[in-house]
Amino acid sequence: MNDSSEIIISVRDLKTGYGEKVILQNVSFQVRRGEVFVILGGSGCGKSTLLKNLIGLYTPMEGQVWIDGGNLVAAGEVERLVLLRKFGVMYQSGALFGSMTLLENVRLPLDEFTALPDPVKELVALAKLKLVGLGAAAQKMPSELSGGMQKRAAIARAMALDPQILFLDEPSAGLDPVTSAGLDLLIKELAHHFGITFVVVSHELASIYTIADRVIMLDSRTRTVIAEGRPAELRESATDPWVRRFFNREAESVQSDHPNQNL
């Protein structure tokens, strides 16, 4: 359906951090249209920070973030809004608005950004909820749902405006393996049927092998990308021992002074 070689996100020489402290530098990678792209790495290596740069919550110290042909870092206010409409974000905790029902949560972007008539908005919102398997819970409040359901509802809200890209922050964190696998399946389906490009931050090996077309791996010691490729390839042939260990899930003592621990 889509030209798989087309680049939709391009990050060039990104350098980011908090205050004076540099978390990541020299980060460059490209995401192709329609693929599931996973950003992974150990705890504290800057995965979430990188994601916040990609979605425009943080401005990088240096470098550029291109999304579908527009530079998010240098964009003016109007262009920025156009770029923001191209993607949806699912936050780690779901970040559903607690005072609204699921239906109202999913309707909110439609109410704010489209002039669609009410019945159509309602139909769109219900259809998105059904897509993530939550049609019957449309009238429930977020607090009445389990963690996995909240995350699915958050995906439905992120999809309300039919974005081309979905950013997911740790979709499987805090979920049981069955629920987590269900979410992986949903991601695969959405990517396949709708041609949505997924950028997923994760460190769940099982889910990475299921969903990822390509991954990049961040490292807190070198503060940059240490591996890029297909997960199965990296497991077999990564040169960096830490990467191979990660993909083969080899344990290491918490106390050991491993270079990848950024304490």
Binding site: M1, F97, G98, S99, T101, L103, L110, T114, A115, L116, P117, P119, V120, K121, E122, L123, V124, L126, A127, K128, L129, K130, L131, G135, A136, A138, Q139, S143, M159, A160, L161, D162, H193
Partner: protein, 380 residues
């Protein structure tokens, strides 16, 4: 009838006289085009008496969620009451998506019609039962505190005096600037306002007597307590409320630590120790404000001091301090109770802090009224 909608979408609408209609869509049916298309169809289809509608979607190159919703809406016959509607020619992928959300789904998932609002007696009954339940809870809480206070205070290990010191600093020492400002201004204002009518009787010097009595017996304790409620009662409720939302209170209980003993007793002790001091300070600053006005009116300091000391008795000062102790206990206890009562959800902590301040001030005023009657009876 034929019409075209801009925005890269062509919409042909044909309505024949026998009640058959045909809509042909060509191009991109995205959320912008859907808005325009909807308007056009509303105009053409809604007023016409249509028995059968055929939607030809074979010319669609692109259709997003909004477009599919429009097709589903047409298909459900919502725009053409009583007509049979068929949507034809959707591309395979789109057809699959279109079938993914059906009329049955809509009927099952859509919001229920609004239930009727409750009747007045029902509403009143509910409020009264809530009020009595709240009152019962407050009395129960009072009992728990009274039962827990002495054993905890006497047990040095459990009392956590550093926590008491922290609260004393936050709620007491840090409140000094605002208490100073408010009290001195209130003293100034009252003295200034009363000096004018008293001048008509040549009795301006009695401003000093009045400000002394009012500040020591009434306003000093009230100002201190109300500021404490606004600054610290709300903070107690927010602090304990956030702990409850974060399940920290549950953690305390499973560690075998009673939240009343661990959190509430310290705050009430601090509140009770602190409020008389704040009361004295507020009284002093208020009187100072009044004295400044009388000095400004031209009376010498010695005369003003004489008037003040002649109008006040030790019992007045003791009375003010007693009020301070009671008000302090009320504010800190209510703050803690509201914090412990916090429900789940994003607005819960906000509701708790509001309730803490409102209940505190209400109870302070009621207690003040009781004190006035008591004082009157005791003086007899």
């Amino acid at each position: 009838m034929t019409a075209t909608v801009q925005n890269e979408l062509e919409t042909d609408v044909q309505v024949s006289l026998d009640g058959c209609a045909r809509v042909a869509l060509r191009g991109r049916l995205d959320s912008h085009a859907t808005v325009a298309c909807w308007k056009l169809l509303e105009q053409k289809l809604r007023p016409a008496k249509i028995k059968a509608l055929e939607v030809d979607a074979s010319g669609l190159q692109f259709c997003d969620g909004a477009g599919l919703a429009l097709l589903r809406y047409l298909n459900m016959g919502r725009m053409t009451r009583g007509a049979t509607v068929s949507v034809l020619g959707l591309e395979e992928e789109l057809e699959k998506l279109f079938r993914g959300f059906t009329l049955e789904d809509y009927e099952a998932f859509r919001p229920p019609l609004r239930t009727e609002s409750r009747s007045l007696p029902e509403e009143v009954g509910k409020e009264v039962s809530q009020l009595t339940a709240d009152l019962r809870e407050q009395v129960g809480f009072l009992g728990t505190i009274v039962a827990n206070l002495p054993p905890t205070i006497l047990d040095r290990k459990r009392m956590r005096w550093p926590e008491v010191r922290r609260v004393l600093e936050l709620a007491g020492a840090n409140a000094v600037p605002i208490v100073s400002l408010v009290s001195i201004l209130v003293g100034l204002i009252i003295a200034f306002e009363s000096a004018q009518p008293l001048a008509q009787f040549g009795a301006q010097i009695y401003v000093a007597n009045m400000i002394g009595l009012v500040m020591v017996r009434e306003l000093g304790p009230l100002l201190a307590a109300i500021l404490l409620a606004g600054r610290s009662g709300s903070a107690f409720a927010a602090e304990i409320g956030t702990m409850k939302v974060n399940e920290e209170l549950n953690a305390l209980e499973t560690l075998g630590l009673d939240p009343i003993r661990f959190l509430v007793v310290q705050r009430i002790t601090a509140g009770v120790l602190l409020t008389p001091l704040l009361t004295f300070y507020a009284t002093f600053m208020g009187v100072l404000g009044g004295v400044l006005v009388t000095l400004g009116l031209g009376y010498p300091l010695s005369l003003v001091f004489h008037q003040l000391s002649s109008s006040l008795q030790l019992s007045d000062v003791v009375f003010g301090a007693t009020k301070g102790v009671v008000f302090g206990a009320i504010v800190s206890a209510v703050g803690c109770l509201r914090g412990l009562q916090t429900q789940q959800g994003p607005s819960a902590v906000g509701i708790s802090t509001t309730r803490a301040v409102v209940t505190s001030i209400l109870l302070i005023i009621i207690a003040d009224a009781v004190f006035s009657v008591l004082f009157f009876v005791l003086k007899q």
